[in-house]
Symmetry: C2
Subunit: 385 residues, 2 copies
């Protein structure tokens, strides 16, 4: 059963939980991907309310037949600008952007071989599989292995390297420049999934590729509108030629009702805000650093990450669920256990996503709760740092 909640707009991470109770019970959400709490930002809410009253609930059609609103066009321009690309294309979700783009691209490039990081997201794997193209899996973030595989291939076949910037479950970051160096050397296209980075990294929220000044080296940047931007939907940005190809040939783009204009208006406000404001990014980084430090100080097995993602390794699915259940039932803390197939067996964990709205008091309470549960379940603590 999925945990049944309603978040409290304006008071997030506070929420109501309907799980195992007759009425709603107050909880604190620690596992949301609304990383910057933009889902409750006044500018986003106002834009959505405005669109709702101006144009109504849904788009009423596909992009080609009646469902292309002025908001869609504005947002595509805004996203292209965010990543310094010629064009952008909206999809109903990040999942669909990966699936539709990768499967279409690899079908169109004759005999294309796709080089895929072994920890790529399920939606990239789906797109690669659905393309029918040959694929080579390289060991996670291992550029030596990637080069080995690239070098073994016929120099004349089209090649596409697909990877993520921030890996969501380990919170580690891809060596973008090193990968682009290989792409240059072996004449490969590059495709980066920035869903756990857009809005959060780079001076304007353009992701790790902006932070590392590598966006111009990447052919296709894919992102989501449902995590740091706080709403829903997905997109790609690229040069005009690639955008035109995907727009013209991807069934997952063509044959589907376009994003509700209400959502698009909200995202537009969110992207614009995060382009000019770094306060949310700074507060998120501060919150993540503080939570990691508190976990380390308490001897809790926090995984080393260089990002905003704070995973606590448990290494066992039953215990991970047990900890999560106690946190919810006794402490009003909601954090979902992460199990196979989302992570490999034996690496089950709790994944915390502190953001600008999580206070130091919440973190102290959480750490206390975890220490009590660790003791109750006779789990091991590390030597306190």
């Amino acid at each position: 059963m999925f945990i049944d909640i309603l978040r409290n707009k304006g008071a997030y991470p506070n929420a109501r939980c309907f799980h195992g109770h007759n009425g709603p019970k107050p909880i604190t959400v620690w596992c949301s991907n609304d990383y910057l709490a933009m889902g409750q930002h006044p500018a986003v809410i106002a834009a959505m309310e405005g669109a709702l009253h101006d144009v109504g609930a849904g788009s009423g059609g596909t992009r080609n037949i009646g469902g292309n609103t002025h908001f869609h066009i504005e947002l595509e321009n805004e996203l292209a600008d965010l990543h310094g690309k010629q064009g952008a294309l909206l999809f109903t979700s990040g999942y669909v952007s990966n699936d539709a783009t990768l499967s279409t691209l690899a079908k169109i490039l004759p005999n294309c071989v796709i080089f895929s990081d072994e920890l790529n997201h399920a939606s990239m794997i789906a797109g690669i599989r659905n393309s029918g193209a040959e694929k080579r899996i390289w060991r996670h973030n291992d550029v030596a292995h990637l080069e080995e595989l690239l070098a073994a291939e016929d120099p004349n076949v089209p090649k596409l390297i697909a990877f993520e910037s921030v890996y969501s479950m380990d919170g580690d970051v891809a060596p973008i420049h090193a990968i682009c160096d290989l792409a240059d050397k072996y004449n490969a296209l590059t495709y980066i999934d920035e869903v756990h980075a857009v809005g959060m990294y780079g001076a304007r929220g353009g992701g790790i590729s902006e932070r590392d000044e590598a966006a111009h080296r990447i052919d296709i940047i894919e992102g989501t509108l449902g995590k740091a931007f706080g709403v829903m939907g997905g997109y790609i940005t690229a040069d005009s030629k690639i955008i035109d190809v995907i727009r013209s040939y991807a069934p997952g783009f063509i044959f589907t009702t376009s994003l509700s204009p209400v959502l698009v208006a909200g995202v537009l406000a969110s992207v614009k805000h995060l382009k000019s404001s770094s306060a949310e990014r700074d507060a998120q980084q501060a919150a993540a650093a503080m939570l990691k430090q508190k976990f380390r100080d308490a001897g809790l097995p926090v995984m080393d990450t260089t990002t905003h993602i704070v995973p606590l390794m448990v290494g066992d699915p039953v215990r991970a669920k047990k900890i999560s259940d106690i946190l919810l039932a006794e402490y009003g803390v909601y954090v979902q256990p992460i199990n196979f197939p989302t992570v490999p067996r034996g690496t089950e964990r709790l994944r915390f996503t502190p953001g600008p709205a999580h206070t130091e008091a919440m973190m102290a309470e959480l750490t206390e709760a975890l220490l009590e549960i660790w003791d109750r379940l006779e789990l091991q603590l590390k030597q306190a740092a």
Copy 2:
């Protein structure tokens, strides 16, 4: 280029068009799939505004990790009830419901053979292809051909018959009972796509399967929340066992941010309203009948349909586009030409979707405009009826 519009909430089918102009120009929309104008219904708008202020813009996560709101659960219960099934499952779009369900189901049933109507939607074709299962294409709505194919198959392999109730471009209807008779005889599962029927047919809007009292004979009913229900999203309903399988194994369901609670709250209001009100359905049928009659009386080549869809056959992509361009530029009438691959070459058409908000005066103006254009382009009229 897609036609760039904003609809006028409360005054639909009136809208603003930004196409080829410096500022917005007023138009009338004739090709929306917001069939019942529920996208501007006060109950839907109020529910969305309420949710926006109560819980915020997005869900913040997948259904399993933080993105399962109380609205999602309520809506799934409401949809299961609508179709008389044990359970329902929401997806981010109708496209994704078809792709995810068909591909997962056929992977799970060992050696499954799928029998697919030749005019099935691109999303069903994608799901069937992505499943990797064997498929047999039966001629459109031809049950004799379907039986021939079923009879030729090994009686012991699992079989799935996939079809639509209302075919969106021809506006014709599948012989559901005859198909279910064959499913019984040859022990096949049945999957029906009701996206162009839910909300619009049956006493409670349960679709053609409700109208024809056949819902209990269908294993899986798939629908959309983005057409007659006026918002965005997709779903399936089925018995609990099938729902559990799709929920547990379909990557397109598991690994994606769930529908925004704002959308879900709007759909909930829409579905509830259309369960108890037939006024919108009756008005849509009256509008469709009136427009068909006006077209027939004028000698325009309207295709015979038994549904709310009113296609005007042109039979040539250049002319269809030309007519559409003149309508938009000179008459402020927006109707998209429908070309290959959405319809077969040589059957290019204009597809009108009159609804409760299209007045007789609008229809008279439209008919006059078409007659003038027919004359200008020297197209043939039929003998007036």
